[in-house]
């Protein structure tokens, strides 16, 4: 078998890896969607439950669809970087390079060059969010209209923010809650918690509202005449599914970058590092003295 045929076969498999998840999602949707008359706006379908402490672990449509999106993203990455060369000869390589360069430019513009390691994370946030929201175009349940999914992401972002804040030292972090005066402490705590909650609800609410409005328009037009159902909902879907979904992905990524880079107390961190280096130096000197004796 020649190299070219092998290349083609791998390409075909990767394209299948991108398309099949969504086909599977549609099949699942058809199999599991309850028949209903009129408008019904509900959350995700629960496929099955596993007994766990606190709450049952539910495998819902949102979870499954986000896994499908992940498989799609992995397939996309593999497809774009398949046969990557130093001298590019394919359009897909240009696309791959464009994505990497754009995300890195975004990170360096909003966070600075020392946060460059965040570029894949931002790309992951953008990709997951955008493609999750866009999956509603195929009639799938968009994972981003499930609060749990976005809440998971925003909690991860919150963990990263707190990790960066703690780099200035625990004392510095705790002190931050009692500023400008100690009475403000409860408000500061609320403000801290509000960050992930607001991020999650903003994203979730925007996508959900799109779904709700799309359903309402669909139903309302159908109530008037079935002919109106053709075409017109697509125009609204253009805004609510595509524009709104992409904008929310961008906002989520943007907020992630800003919160992380703003949360990092640079001065305190540098002071702490200097102190640490000083302590290390002294310890070494003491060790050297002991050794000499």
């Amino acid at each position: 078998m020649s190299e070219k045929t092998k290349f083609r076969i791998v390409d075909g498999l990767l394209i299948a890896m991108m398309i099949l998840p969504f086909v599977a999602g549609i099949v699942l949707k058809i199999l599991f969607t309850p028949e209903s008359e009129g408008i019904s706006i509900t959350g995700a379908i629960v496929f099955f439950e596993i007994k766990m402490p606190l709450q049952p672990l539910q495998i819902t449509e949102a979870q499954v669809n986000s896994w499908l999106v992940m498989v799609f993203l992995v397939g996309l990455c593999l497809y774009l970087t398949h046969g990557i060369k130093v001298v590019p000869d394919s359009r897909r390589q240009h696309v791959a390079e464009w994505i990497v360069e754009k995300v890195e430019a975004l990170v360096s513009d909003n966070m600075g060059d020392k946060y460059m390691a965040f570029a894949p994370f931002i790309a992951a946030v953008l990709g997951m969010s955008a493609f999750s929201s866009l999956s509603s175009l195929l009639g799938l349940f968009p994972p981003t209209s499930d609060l749990n999914v976005v809440f998971g992401w925003s909690i991860l972002v919150f963990i990263i923010i707190t990790h960066y804040k703690l780099k200035g030292g625990v004392w510095n972090y705790t002190k931050g809650y009692f500023e400008p005066i100690p009475v403000f402490a409860p408000m500061n705590v609320i403000g801290e918690i509000a960050t992930p909650v607001s991020m999650a609800f903003r994203h979730f609410g925007n996508v959900l509202s799109g779904v709700v409005i799309s359903t309402l328009i669909h139903a309302a037009l159908g109530g008037l005449s079935n002919v109106l159902r053709v075409g017109i909902p697509a125009v609204f879907s253009l805004y609510f599914d595509i524009f709104s979904g992409l904008i929310q992905a961008y906002i989520f990524a943007m907020l992630t970058m800003l919160y992380i880079s703003n949360g990092f107390p640079e001065e305190a961190y540098e002071k702490r590092m200097k102190k640490k280096a000083e302590r290390e130096r002294r310890r070494r000197e003491a060790a050297a003295l002991v050794e000499n004796k």
């Binding site: 629960v46 709450q55 979870q63 992940m70 970087t81 894949p120 994370f121 992951a124 609060l147 998971g152």
Partner: protein, 172 residues
């Protein structure tokens, strides 16, 4: 409904779902890093290195070319100077030679002229002498005839010569 299912409320919070979603994002982050960013950045770095190398090569080639050009220009200038020198030399030599030739020619011509003048003078002298002899002989003849007797040629030639030179002196 094909299969029995239950549906969630629109807003429902499930801690396990949140954890799964959190883990999903971490996993996709690692996958993107490994599958997209790593190969692309590696390629970009390799390309940058290649481009840098090409630029360096070009710069080196340019430098060499500049050096070569300077060398050639130097050589050309040298050659030109040399040619100029040769030409000047040749011209000088030619001038000198022509002067020599002309001088020679002039000298020769002068010598010839002098010789010719000398010859003329000699011829004149000769003619004069001949004429004198003739005249003396003629006068002796005439005098013989007039006197009717032979004059001793030898005795009287001296006399006549004297006479002629007196005439000659007066005539001049």
């Amino acid at each position: 409904m094909l299969l029995e299912t239950q549906q969630l409320e629109i807003i429902s919070v499930n801690i396990w779902s949140i954890l799964i979603s959190l883990a999903n994002l971490v996993i996709i982050f690692l996958l993107l890093k490994k599958l997209l960013f790593k190969p692309v950045k590696k390629t970009l770095a390799a390309r940058q290195a290649q481009v840098d190398k090409i630029y360096d090569d070009a710069a080196a080639a340019k430098q060499t070319a500049e050096a070569d050009r300077a060398e050639y220009e130097q050589k050309l200038a040298d050659v030109k100077a040399e040619a100029e020198e040769i030409l000047t030399d040749a011209r000088e030599r030619a001038d000198r030679m022509s002067e020599e030739i002309i001088g020679d020619a002039k000298d020769k011509a002068q010598a010839k002229l002098e010789r010719a003048e000398e010859e003329i003078a000699q011829e004149k002298k000769k003619a004069m002498t001949e004429l004198k002899d003739d005249v003396s002989a003629l006068s002796v003849d005439i005098a013989e005839k007039l006197l009717g007797r032979e004059i001793d040629e030898k005795d009287h030639a001296e006399l006549i010569d004297k006479f002629i030179s007196e005439v000659d002196d007066n005539g001049k």
